[in-house]
């Protein structure tokens, strides 16, 4: 029992001690440069790490002397040459020295090769494999055209990683991850959905001198719906692109309440005609505002600067897909319900009143920065 408790306590402290991280994990530094005479590769490995692999500390006193390192140079050189291989380029040892860095002393080995890789050389890296699971080689490779790239070499992985995709500031989102974000954003963005619904509620009806008549065919409903959705899509795509590419920025203290206002106005129009039936124009004008709202969501996702346009396109296509899903379901249901004589009273007026109320509350929330609704 006592042992069990000690174990438990160790774990409790483990958790406790977690944030107090210190020093750094093990890294080796590689510099690969090419010249007319061939390839030069310099590899810096910490003596601490080499000691783990090669037992450099011959007398085991915990102090590495220059004598101990010197007599171990041949085994260090062959260990490093074995652990760093460049496809098509046999490496010959050329120079060696010691370097002091902030976390200790490093052995710096220089190798040369007569090869001339035409593109970025492929590095097979296996230093400290099986000895330290968090060890990485940080390679800076000078390319022919004067540019240079940084690669992170993981001894347990076959392919080098591009660090530009590994920084937490710009998290990796593989493949079409931004498409998914776009779909999720519109499905979870209640304000955009509510605005769309306000526009769609009367789409299955015809306004005749102040009263509503159900449309005869699905086609009669589908045409205005397509117009509204296209206008809304065009408009928010324009402002989303402008805002995301930093060309036109509006502060969110203005945009967020403005979106709430668009809901109130769209709903009000269903009860008392404000816009004289030009719903596509309204959808376009208000869509411009919603586009800035989408851009706000997008900025929280930290788009990769490198593949910016691609990510933006994905996000937008995702938005449209999500929007189409909502429209398909909503229009289908409304179309079925339209024949009910109570549709105008319950769905159009009731629904619009509810939307106005929610929109108004959102407006208050977003201007006064208070929380009134659970959404």
């Amino acid at each position: 029992m006592v042992r069990f408790l000690i174990l438990l306590l160790a774990s409790a402290f483990a958790a406790f001690a977690a944030p107090a991280s210190a020093h750094k994990s093990s890294d080796a530094y590689l510099q690969v440069s090419s010249s007319p005479s061939g390839l030069t590769v310099r590899i810096d490995v910490a003596l601490r790490d080499l000691d783990l692999a090669l037992d450099l500390d011959a007398d085991g006193d915990g102090r590495l002397t220059w004598g101990e390192v010197k007599s171990a140079w041949p085994s260090i050189a062959s260990y490093v040459a074995n652990g760093v291989q460049i496809a098509g380029c046999p490496l010959d040892p050329a120079d060696r020295s010691l370097e002091r860095r902030a976390d200790g002393t490093y052995a710096a080995l220089t190798f040369r090769s007569k090869c001339h890789p035409s593109s970025e050389p492929v590095i097979r890296y296996s230093l400290l494999q099986g000895l330290d699971a968090t060890h990485r080689g940080i390679a800076r490779i000078d390319l022919a055209g004067g540019a240079s790239v940084v690669r992170v070499l993981d001894p347990s992985a076959a392919v080098a990683a591009d660090p530009a995709s590994a920084t937490p500031i710009e998290p990796t989102r593989s493949g079409i991850a931004f498409l998914r974000e776009g779909v999720l954003h519109i499905l979870g963005g209640y304000d955009h959905v509510l605005f769309l619904l306000c526009l769609l509620l009367p789409a299955v009806m015809r306004r005749t001198s102040g009263d509503w008549q159900p449309v005869g065919s699905f086609r009669e409903a589908a045409v205005p719906v397509a117009g509204i959705v296209t206008a809304f899509t065009l408009a928010h795509s324009i402002t989303l692109a402008l805002a995301a590419s930093q060309r036109l920025l509006l502060p969110s203290w203005f945009i967020e309440p403005a979106i709430a206002v668009t809901i109130v106005l769209a709903a009000l129009d269903n009860i008392r005609p404000l816009f004289r039936g030009r719903r596509a124009v309204v959808a376009f004008a208000f869509g411009l505002i919603h586009g800035f709202g989408f851009a706000g969501a997008l900025s929280e996702l930290s788009l990769p600067t490198a593949a910016f346009a691609w990510a933006l396109l994905q996000f937008n296509v995702g938005l449209e897909l999500g929007q189409l899903m909502i429209v398909a379901v909503a229009v289908g249901l409304l179309f079925v319900a339209r024949a009910n004589p109570r549709y105008p009273a319950w769905v159009i007026r009731g629904g619009s009143c509810a939307a106005m109320l929610v929109g108004a509350l959102w407006f208050v929330e977003r201007t006064a920065d208070v929380s009134l609704l659970p959404l």
Partner: protein, 387 residues
């Protein structure tokens, strides 16, 4: 404009990453063979003994018992010395079991504990949940899971793990576990009563007493009772002087505007990154002789650590604090603090986020931070001054 600035800050970080690889390295030219060129970290066990068990492990790589013992020993050294290299070695000791579904329970628990130390919380939680399903009476798995979920700001899941722990282990752990979550949610009175009852119990091990008192101290600090918090911190340190409590106490003293006391409290601590960071902040504020030296050493360590891209995940909290409190660069601090809360969501992480947003004058980020705080369910009086 804010978006623009943040965008430029990101570009700057990416650029810094490329440039940092050329970081400082000075040649060493030894005079003679006896010159010591590197001191290997002091081992609790002698070097000979260390090599003996390393050889033993190499010879029996598939042996669960030898591998987990080696990993536990290495992780212990990582904690003692604040050196994550040992955690990487500990993880490598368990390398023969890469597939969690096939790893024995002991191996799985150890892997998760190391991943937690390395701030890979998602991976740790996945392994612990697998283990808890497989061996529901494994108290340590539940306790560690409760902690990981708490650090992630997922209090409900942490509660569930605490409750499961209560069914199988000594009640003191389950009670403390739940009390800590209660305290984070602002149910201060209940949490305080629960902890006080545990602390008053006779025959408590000093480590346990210290742990409970530190939990109480942090609770009082969040509840806005600095006098009680300080008393609890001092009681905790008199019971059991551990690095975590010292750091937590130092953060508390910095919040209270007492940098000189921080310098006293941390004077004899090993200069891990966490300790050095607080020394740099306190030294800068107090205008002490060593402040500038500590700050420049910390700056150098950060530059070196950042040569590895994922370093910002591991050190984002510390780097955000440094950018905010030493470099007075709130834009950069905000970007780092925002990256940090994707991983860890302890009160201190939200505090540095809120303070950075405020210093940067970014109302949107401030609102976002408050939204996150509400989403987590954290109640902390210290935020009221900042929000």
């Amino acid at each position: 404009m804010k978006v623009m600035i943040r965008f430029l800050a990101l570009l700057g970080l990416a650029w810094g990453l490329l440039g940092a690889v050329a970081a400082a390295a000075a040649p060493v030219v030894p005079r003679d063979d006896t010159e010591v060129v590197e001191v290997l970290p002091a081992a609790t066990a002698s070097r000979a003994e260390e090599r003996r068990w390393r050889r033993e492990w190499t010879a029996h790589r598939g042996d669960t018992r030898i591998a987990t013992a080696a990993a536990r020993r290495l992780l212990g050294r990582a904690r003692e010395e604040g050196d994550p290299r040992f955690a990487g070695r500990a993880l490598a000791a368990l390398g023969p079991w890469p597939d969690p579904d096939r790893a024995p329970n002991d191996v799985l628990l150890m892997q998760a504990t190391i991943e937690q130390y390395l701030h890979d919380f998602d991976a740790a939680a996945a392994k612990l949940e697998l283990l808890a399903r497989r061996a529901p009476s494994d108290a340590q798995a539940w306790l560690t899971l409760a902690t990981v979920r708490r650090v992630q700001g997922r209090y409900a899941e942490s509660d569930a793990a605490c409750l499961a722990l209560g069914n199988i282990a000594d009640r003191v752990y389950a009670t403390a576990c739940l009390a800590e979550n209660d305290g984070l949610r602002g149910r201060v009175d209940a949490a305080r009563t629960g902890l006080a009852r545990l602390i008053a119990a006779p025959g408590l091990a000093v480590e346990t007493a210290g742990w409970l008192l530190t939990t109480l101290a942090e609770l009082e600090a969040r509840a806005g009772n600095p006098a009680s918090a300080e008393a609890a911190y001092r009681a905790a340190l008199s019971q059991h002087d551990d690095g975590y409590t010292r750091i937590s106490f130092a953060d508390f003293l910095l919040e209270r505007g007492r940098p000189a006391d921080v310098l006293t409290e941390l004077r004899d601590q090993p200069r891990s990154d966490a300790v050095l960071l607080r020394l740099a902040i306190a030294g800068t504020r107090a205008g002490s002789r060593n402040g500038a030296r500590d700050a420049s050493e910390m700056r150098e360590r950060i530059a070196l650590a950042n040569e590895r891209p994922d370093a910002r995940v591991l050190h984002a909290r510390e780097q955000a604090m440094f950018a905010l409190r030493v470099e007075a660069d709130p834009q950069r601090a905000l970007a780092l603090a925002q990256a940090n809360v994707r991983q860890q969501r302890e009160p201190v992480d939200l505090l540095v986020l809120v303070q950075s947003a405020r210093a940067a004058g970014d109302a949107e980020a401030l609102r976002e931070a408050d939204r996150l705080r509400r989403e987590i369910g954290l109640v902390d009086r210290r935020f009221e001054a900042s929000l």
